[in-house]
């Protein structure tokens, strides 16, 4: 089966700084790829490239055997959790309705088939119970489940996830990541998952793309999450420790700066 997403000799940088260069990556249907790396290593820029919002400096990128373009509905996008405030005039299910027909101009009527589609999506992400609650009254985890449902509305070939677990508690981290994992197993949807912390999804990931210091490594978690590999990537001594099924990276100079509050340094 041909790749869902294919990057060939891809390079991107801003000004003098190279984010990544000579990147070759084929993502197969149903494959779960985690994109790791410190802030400013080009993780979010990679998602923008796939969304057609950021052209490459050189090389090529192809999605489903064609060029990437803005607003391709075969890509589902799950953003960072931004809490929707109380008073927003939307109920849980309306978030999903926007995923189904929110791009359409014209009189804002929702067809019966679309309502049934929304019911099915609510069911699929386990949000039926709070579908009629004002979305501003829901917890961050509940809102994030709805966003997964919103991204699934177009029946995507590829799910792009931009730190979707950020600021969720452990239980909701597991819930949301299992939702994404189930989707790719049952529907063969490829997943490109940007994250600071690989631990909540360590058991699901097929391959890791680790970006740091203008370089990158691609491979299975066992291949990439090794002290020698990360030391070479960062160009400074880095210790990668595995304890009880978790990975802890110690000495990552960039990660330390923005994870001082976390108690441990996530991979």
């Amino acid at each position: 089966m041909s790749a869902v997403l294919s990057l060939e000799g891809a390079a991107l940088g801003f000004g003098d700084r190279t984010l990544w260069n000579g990147l070759n990556l084929d993502i197969a249907p149903g494959e779960f790829i985690a994109v790791l790396g410190p802030n400013g290593s080009g993780k979010t820029s990679m998602l923008k490239t796939v969304l057609g919002q950021q052209p490459l400096d050189s090389g090529s990128i192809r999605f489903a055997c064609g060029p990437v373009r803005r607003g391709d509905r075969r890509i589902g996008y799950i953003p960072q959790q931004k809490l929707i405030g109380p008073g927003t005039p939307l109920r849980g299910r309306d978030l999903l309705t926007l995923g189904v027909n929110g791009h359409r101009f014209g009189l804002p009527f929702t067809r019966r088939a679309e309502r049934e589609h929304v019911d099915a999506l609510l069911e699929a992400v386990g949000a039926t119970r709070y579908g009629n609650e004002p979305v501003g009254n829901l917890s961050g985890g509940e809102q994030q489940r709805l966003r997964v449902g919103q991204a699934l509305a177009g029946d995507p070939l590829l799910l792009l996830c931009d730190e979707p677990l950020l600021s969720l508690d452990l239980q909701h981290q597991r819930g949301v990541s299992e939702l994404i994992d189930r989707r790719r197993r049952e529907h063969n949807t490829a997943v490109l998952f940007v994250t600071h912390d690989v631990n909540p999804i360590l058991g699901m990931v097929d391959r890791i793309l680790y970006l740091a210091g203008g370089q990158f490594r691609i491979g299975t978690p066992d291949e990439v999450l090794q002290s020698a590999v990360l030391t070479e990537l960062y160009g400074t001594p880095v210790e990668c420790i595995r304890i009880g099924g978790r990975v802890i990276v110690v000495g990552d100079p960039d990660a330390e700066a923005h994870h001082h509050h976390a108690g441990e340094l996530p991979a």
């Binding site: 005039p89 109920r91 926007l98 177009g154």
Partner: protein, 300 residues
């Protein structure tokens, strides 16, 4: 002596009351202002709809800024003897475009509005000071003058409101998406830049209409307060705009109906009704919150 004081107070109160509310010859007055009532009704409806997005996109301050520039445009038109409605529209659209171009992000937007607003207000005051005509016309632009707008211009106001109404309905759904989460909307193919511009233009038009009807200083009473009140009592994407429209309509038309008998400007009646509705909605929301909490305590 004390008796005389009381009589005096009674006399004042009676006088004040008759200046505020006087329903003699009501039928004849009603006939004279029927076109104004229609214009106010249309503004109440469209303002209520637009307000839902003004609230969601956090643009109340921008609305105020646009209205001051619209006032400057209208004042310039008055001074140079051209169509006041056209001047008001020109000012509002220029302000809407400047804010739309320079203030895509909320924080930039607030600083740009903060810079534009006193400039616009100052220009307007300059033009009015230079204007040799009657002073009643001058203050009308700031505090409302609907009854003094002539019929052809009322036609323009109603027509522009209808354009905004149709425009809003056509972009309603993608604009909701963009207002909720612009990044996701863009990823789904919503033309987010086009939508912000379209909304700014529609907003500019309806602000220009509002300046003519309730005055530049009081525009928010019809473009923000009804939607803010509706959002207090509902989260339904259908009920919020419906309530907002009802509240706007009640305030605009109710204000004129109460005001025409007295000798005072219409705007205070509109703003007071609008505010009373908002307070009522807050009380309802507060009462609901209490009821919801009580069984929770009982259960735990």
């Amino acid at each position: 002596m004390s008796l005389a004081l009381i009589r005096l107070a009674e006399g004042d109160a009676g006088d004040l009351w008759s200046r505020m509310f006087d329903f003699s010859d009501y039928g004849a007055l009603l006939g004279l202002v029927s076109n104004s009532i229609i214009a106010a009704a249309v503004l109440g409806i469209v303002g209520g709809l637009v307000g839902v997005f003004v609230m969601q996109r956090d643009m109340a301050f921008a609305v105020h800024g646009i209205s001051e520039l619209s006032f400057a445009g209208a004042a310039a038109a008055l001074l140079f003897g051209v169509n006041v409605v056209a001047g008001s529209v020109a000012g509002a659209l220029i302000a809407a475009l400047v804010i739309g171009v320079l203030g895509a992000k909320a924080r930039d937007r607030n600083s740009i509005v903060g810079v534009l607003m006193p400039f616009g207000l100052g220009l307007g005051i300059l033009f009015l000071a230079l204007y040799p005509g009657r002073s009643a016309n001058k203050f009308g632009l700031l505090t409302g003058q609907i009854v003094s707008v002539d019929d052809p211009q009322l036609g323009w106001l109603i027509g522009m409101s209808l354009v905004v109404l149709i425009g809003m309905l056509l972009i309603w759904r993608p604009l909701s998406f963009d207002s909720l989460d612009s990044d996701v909307a863009a990823a789904r193919g919503v033309p987010t830049r086009f939508l912000s511009f379209a909304f700014m233009l529609l907003l500019g038009l309806i602000v220009a209409v509002s300046v003519q009807i309730i005055g530049a200083l009081l525009v928010l009473a019809l473009l923000v307060t009804p939607a803010a009140a509706a959002m207090r009592v509902s989260s339904s994407p259908l009920l919020v705009p419906v309530l907002s429209v009802l509240f706007g309509l009640t305030a605009a038309v109710g204000g004129i109906l109460l005001a025409i008998g007295g000798s005072l400007p219409i705007s205070p009646y509109i703003t007071t009704i609008s505010f009373a509705i908002y307070v009522g909605c807050r009380l309802i929301a507060w009462g609901r919150g209490r009821r919801r909490v009580v069984p929770g305590y009982a259960g735990s």
